[in-house]
Structure formats: C-alpha cells, structure tokens
Symmetry: C2
Subunit: 141 residues, 2 copies
C-alpha cells in the first residue's frame, strides 16, 4: 500500500490552567492571531500554516459526553510541555529583545553544532517554549 | 516595537514511555522520517517543514545537569496529549484504510461545520492523534 500524503503538523497542543494568561502570552506578546476560544476550556491561535491549541486539562480530559454534537476525543496532560516556533535566524535578536522587554526571562540561548540558534522561555503555565531558526532541522527559512 | 516575524510551529512535542512503540507508529506506520534518537530519552521525526518530538518524560523532566554541553531546558508531561497532522482532504480515506489495516482503531471520524473532516486515533502511548484537512482552519492544502 502506498503511503498516503501528509502536509505537516497542523496543530500542536499545550496545556494551561489560566487561559487569560495564555492569551496575554501567545496573543499579545507573541502576536499570534486568536482563532477561537471557549471560556474555561480552550483558546486557539494561528501561526502561519500551523495552529497552537491551549487547553485546560481538567476540562478536556473528561470523557466525551454521549450527547456531544461533535465527538472530539478527550486528552489532557499535566506538567510542562514543549513547543518550538520557527523564526528567521536574523529575527532571533528581536525576539530576545521583545521577550526581555516584557519581563520574560530567557532561560537558554545557544547555538547548536550545525549553526542553528535556539532561545527558550517559559510560558505563564511553565511550558518550555523555544524559538529556533529552522536550520536546526535543515529546513529552509 | 514591531512584531518580529514567525514562520509557524517548528516542533510539536508528545510524551511516551515506550520509544520503540513510538518508532513503530510514527516511523513505520505514518511514514515520518526519523531524524535522530537517543535511546531511552527521545526520538524525533520530520514531517515536511515540521518536526514531531517524542520524549520520555521521566528523563526529560530532570533538571539540567550543570555540566550539560547544551543547556536545553527540562520539560515533561504526564497524561494524553494531542497533535493534529495536516492531510489533504482526498487522502483521509487512504489514512483510515492504512490505520485500520494496521489494527489502529478509528476513535472518531466526522465533518466540522465548515466542511473539514477529522479522524482521530490513539498512538501507542494514548496520545490523541488527529488527521485533518487544513480547511479546518481555512488553510490551503
């Protein structure tokens, strides 16, 4: 059987108890476009051709209601997750400045053996958020 | 201050205790290219311009060693996470067939109000893995 095609990751999920804090970080600070939100359950942001989903795990891990309109399966994790944004190499300094100016600590900032650079911060929920040039995986900008 | 540019999500992370099972699912069954692995710690896969990272949380949540060569911050979550792959609308039937043929149960398969279709399965670690046409977020194929 031929392998069916895949276009890439469409959605990456993170978990947070405080969705307003997530809105401030991903929406206001990172400038992602808010796509939709359900108060107390989730908030979603678009980032070019990908989407960042932030869920409150105490809600989304509940089993599906039998009368649910759309049978979206349950999920929900505890503890710090990880996500990496793709950023042009020459924009990483601007991101360091923007994050630092907002009082977000830069937890790490280093170059990989192949010359790519990564910076790491924590989102308000404690997730490890990386900004890396796509050269990290030899992907063109 | 101008908003610095961002290119999209580069890496999405999932957690799994059994990395060999993850290799079978993401590598053999889904056909993603294995980029790198460290036995007992992680295994990474490329999917077009994005990367799926699978970590063993009991290892990656340990605080960074003071003598670490690269200061990669710790993270690690427990419980089922979520990831969605972008799949051309006309390839979703092929994915249902491939997954079913491999004995992977289709947990949900439905159309959203905007006409996009999603199918959901569980990876071997119990993460909720979705395959959706990018129309879900009005993103072109």
């Amino acid at each position: 059987m031929m392998m069916p095609p895949m276009l890439g990751v469409l959605e990456a999920a993170l978990y947070a108890d405080d969705l307003e804090a997530a809105r401030g970080f991903y929406g206001d600070l990172l400038g992602l476009t808010e796509l939709t939100a359900r108060e107390g359950r989730h908030i979603f942001f678009r980032c070019e051709t990908t989407v960042v989903l932030v869920f409150r795990p105490e809600v989304t891990r509940k089993p599906l209601e039998p009368d649910a309109v759309l049978p979206v399966p349950s999920h929900g994790a505890d503890g710090p997750g990880h996500l990496c944004f793709s950023v042009p190499m020459d924009a990483l300094d601007d991101w360091v400045n923007r994050l630092s100016h907002a009082g977000v600590a830069i937890e790490s900032d280093f170059f990989w053996p192949n010359g790519a650079r990564s910076i790491y911060v924590r989102d308000p929920a404690g997730n490890s958020i990386e900004f890396a040039s796509p050269k990290l995986w030899e992907i063109p900008e």
